[in-house]
């Protein structure tokens, strides 16, 4: 009995870590990549795997669970070449398209849908308001756009992911939410959410909520910076965090 439980726990842990750590390529994912990946997934993969990726037994693409451990490279290869002697066919996709699908799945990976402490959503809303979360986040059209919009965060993120974002916000920032900073040649510094970048240009939603595009040739410095989201590990009690998580999990869009 005890052994079985331990085995189950070990299997669960293994299942939950089947996604290898992020590769350097992930640094270049943008919101547009994720959107392309989502579309490709829904148009192609979802036909057999289902919209949530969990239709085929033993595989749950949305949570990064596979029948054996998979790296990003394994997944890209399988998407392109298929698995012989199984219903998983080869595709015409380029490496870039397959990488976009992997990026989408990884981004969506609701890693651990484990239980968090029970919280009170009403108290959580009170904390959300008094802790001025809305100075960066937006819910239902109220608040700032500087941080991620939380209007439907409960349908996009598991409770444990939300809790992680509160206690360890820099650990796993979604590609569309990373903070970028540019310094113009005249010393002007602009930071904000990175919307896109390429060899010659950078696109941000800056801290004044303006859409800004810069030619890299006009910049003295540029690069990612740490998330401005503070950790609440030390400044909130476990119960308070559970309350906020409970409130945010209840936000399912309008």
């Amino acid at each position: 009995m005890k052994f079985t439980r331990r085995l189950a726990a070990a299997l669960l842990a293994a299942g939950l870590t089947f996604f290898a750590p992020r590769t350097a390529a992930a640094q270049h994912e943008t919101a547009a990549d994720l959107l392309d990946g989502e579309r490709a997934f829904k148009n192609t993969c979802a036909n057999c795997h289902g919209p949530d990726g969990d239709v085929i037994a033993g595989i749950d693409l949305g949570r990064g669970r596979f029948r054996r451990p998979m790296t990003d490279e394994d997944l890209v290869r399988i998407i392109r070449t298929g698995i012989p002697n199984t219903p998983m066919p080869a595709s015409q996709m380029t490496v870039e398209q397959a990488q976009q699908i992997v990026a989408y799945l990884r981004n969506r990976a609701t890693a651990l849908r484990a239980s968090v402490a029970a919280g009170d959503p009403l108290r959580g809303k009170g904390l959300f308001d008094t802790r001025t979360c809305a100075s960066c986040h937006r819910i239902g059209g109220i608040g700032s756009r500087v941080g991620p919009d939380l209007t439907d965060v409960g349908s996009r993120r598991s409770a444990i992911e939300i809790e992680q974002a509160l206690v360890n916000p820099g650990a796993d920032v979604a590609p569309g939410n990373r903070t970028y900073r540019v310094v113009l040649k005249d010393g002007t510094t602009v930071s904000g959410r990175l919307l896109g970048h390429d060899t010659f240009s950078v696109q941000l939603l800056d801290t004044r909520e303006q859409l800004r595009s810069f030619a890299k040739a006009d910049l003295r410095e540029l690069g990612f910076v740490a998330t401005p989201m503070p950790s609440y590990r030390a400044t909130m009690t476990a119960q308070e965090i559970a309350d906020v998580v409970s409130y945010l999990s209840s936000l399912r869009g309008q």
Partner: protein
């Protein structure tokens, strides 16, 4: 003190910049900020005239391509983009909204909307662009929703069902903003719908008023439909409206009655099909209407964009509405009273031989079982493409289309034949060699004197055109056509000043904007958006 200072800094950082909100005042006076393009046709008078003067008839030959944005869509690209303070907003058909850097064409964000599969109207899953008010964008969708989207983040705010796509309604037009309302019509009038125009509260998406384009029982005009034909008589509304703030009237053109080519079961004038409606902008009450084609059996939708101009008319200043109609006739109406001032064919037209004193046309051609040659044919003297007017030249610019065909009554769709076997497809086609006999059909960009409705000049093309026109204060008219050229013409003479091969059909109107003092001209062609500027 220090705390207060810090609070002030925080507030300054997080407060949305009110000055950059697109108020209705800014939309109404869009010409006061020529660097921006705040509504479908530049202003609510729909003159599609850019007051920018950097690009002129003298230097337009030096235009260079600045960027291209490729849509991930194979639908016709009919949208006119908006530009607000350096950010461009357009629609990737059917219904993805895209925010672009207007200088580089690089994407800020994409709002992806997947319309219901039943949203499949007759003529392509197209969209003609978004509207903006405050910092919210508004888009009508092919499955007949109206969606509000945050202009900074691309996040949806509300999504209202305007009509049921399963009942064959659709929306393809750019919404029209008047005060605090978003006004939009329902398309789908080639099918058995009953069209309407609705105004929605911009903040909440709740319907404020609705005007049915076919009067119901007890309403004036109901008796212009025999039997129950009014229930399914079509009369869609699928293009943007105009607004006159002094009259507080919003104007929309309406579509054909259904079924299109067979009026035997819908006897009567079929009000308010093929008409212009002048509605009170606050209540939707009808103030006046003019019907261009009573009891239409030739599919002459009047969904062209109403163009408002203040001109001298027979010796006195008059507030007019100029209209190049799909039925091949150009009109001048008094836009305050609806009075018919003048009507005159602007392409070869044979379905009427004149007007009575009130402007009712005398119709002489009808579909018959054996077939009737009509001019213009179903494609019209112009279809839906936007027109323009230059207050500098006083001319009205129309990308027109000469065509004819034989219409025979066979039921829902006409049996058509033409001496010329080159059919003019309604949909997107690749650029193909065009084998016409140089007589018709063909497209031509033409300038008309609104005082007489007489042509002043013509630039003739081999192939037909679905493109619109843009006039600028540099005295240039931009247009294009199905051959895949973007053209710059002298606004006073029609002389070709410059052209670019854009490799795909021009199915939209051009627009102009400026960022950091540099003027750009943008045009959608094929499946891409192109921007040009001087070096």
């Amino acid at each position: 003190m220090r705390h207060a200072l810090r609070l002030l800094i925080v507030l300054a950082l997080v407060a949305p910049l009110g000055a950059q909100q697109v108020t209705f005042e800014r939309i109404l006076h869009g010409d006061r900020e020529p660097q921006n393009w705040l509504s479908y046709s530049g202003t609510l008078m729909n003159q599609r005239f850019s007051p920018l003067t950097q690009i002129t008839a003298a230097n337009v030959k030096n235009l260079q391509q600045q960027w291209v944005w490729q849509a991930k869509s194979l639908e016709k690209f009919e949208a006119t983009p908006l530009v607000v303070d350096g950010v461009m907003y357009t629609v990737q058909a059917p219904n993805d909204v895209v925010a672009l850097d207007a200088v580089s064409g690089r994407v800020f964000w994409t709002y992806a909307y997947t319309p219901a599969p039943e949203g499949r109207p007759c003529c392509g899953r197209v969209n003609r662009g978004v509207a903006i008010l405050g910092d919210t964008l508004y888009m009508g969708t092919i499955d007949a929703h109206l969606i509000a989207i945050d202009a900074r983040s691309g996040k949806p705010i509300w999504n209202t069902v305007v009509a049921k796509a399963s009942d064959r309604y659709s929306i393809t037009s750019s919404p029209t903003i008047v005060k605090d309302k978003v006004i939009i019509g329902t398309g789908g009038g080639d099918g058995p719908i009953r069209g309407y125009i609705s105004a929605f509260d911009a903040k909440t998406g709740k319907e404020v008023w609705r005007f049915n384009t076919i009067p119901g029982p007890g309403e004036p005009g109901h008796d212009t439909w025999s039997g129950d034909s009014w229930k399914t008589g079509g009369v869609g509304v699928w293009n943007a409206g105009a607004y006159d703030p002094e009259a507080n009237l919003v104007y929309f053109g309406t579509g054909n009655p259904a079924p299109d080519w067979d009026g035997r079961n819908r006897l009567g004038d079929n009000l308010y099909s093929d008409s212009v409606l002048a509605l009170d902008a606050d209540t939707g009450t009808l103030k006046w209407h003019y019907q261009f084609t009573p009891h239409d059996e030739l599919d002459y939708d009047s969904t062209q964009v109403p163009l408002l101009a203040d001109i001298q008319w027979q010796g006195r200043a008059r507030k007019v509405m100029l209209w190049a109609n799909r039925n091949g006739v150009m009109y001048a109406l008094d836009r305050v009273t609806g009075e018919f001032l003048k009507g005159k064919p602007f392409v070869k037209t044979n379905w009427l031989d004149g007007f009575d004193a009130k402007g009712r046309p005398h119709q002489v051609k009808f579909p018959t079982p054996e077939g009737t040659l009509v001019r213009p044919h179903v494609h019209g003297g112009i279809n839906w493409a936007p027109v323009s007017f230059s207050p500098r030249t006083g001319l009205f610019y129309v990308a027109s289309w000469e065509n004819s065909g034989i219409v025979a009554v066979t039921g829902q769709f006409p049996r058509t034949a033409s001496a010329n076997t080159q059919q003019t497809a309604m949909g997107q086609t690749n650029l193909v060699p065009f084998y016409n006999d140089d007589t018709e059909p063909f497209g031509a960009v033409r300038a008309y004197d609104p005082k007489t409705l007489d042509p002043v000049w013509e630039f003739k093309m081999s192939d037909i055109t679905w493109g619109g026109t843009l006039a600028t204060a540099g005295d240039v008219v931009f247009s294009g056509g199905r051959e895949g050229y973007f053209l710059a013409l002298d606004a006073r003479t029609g002389a070709l000043l410059w052209k670019a091969s854009v490799g795909g059909q021009v199915n939209a109107g051009a627009m102009s904007y400026a960022v950091n003092g540099k003027q750009y001209v943008a045009i959608a062609a094929g499946n891409a958006l192109f921007a040009y500027a001087l070096p």
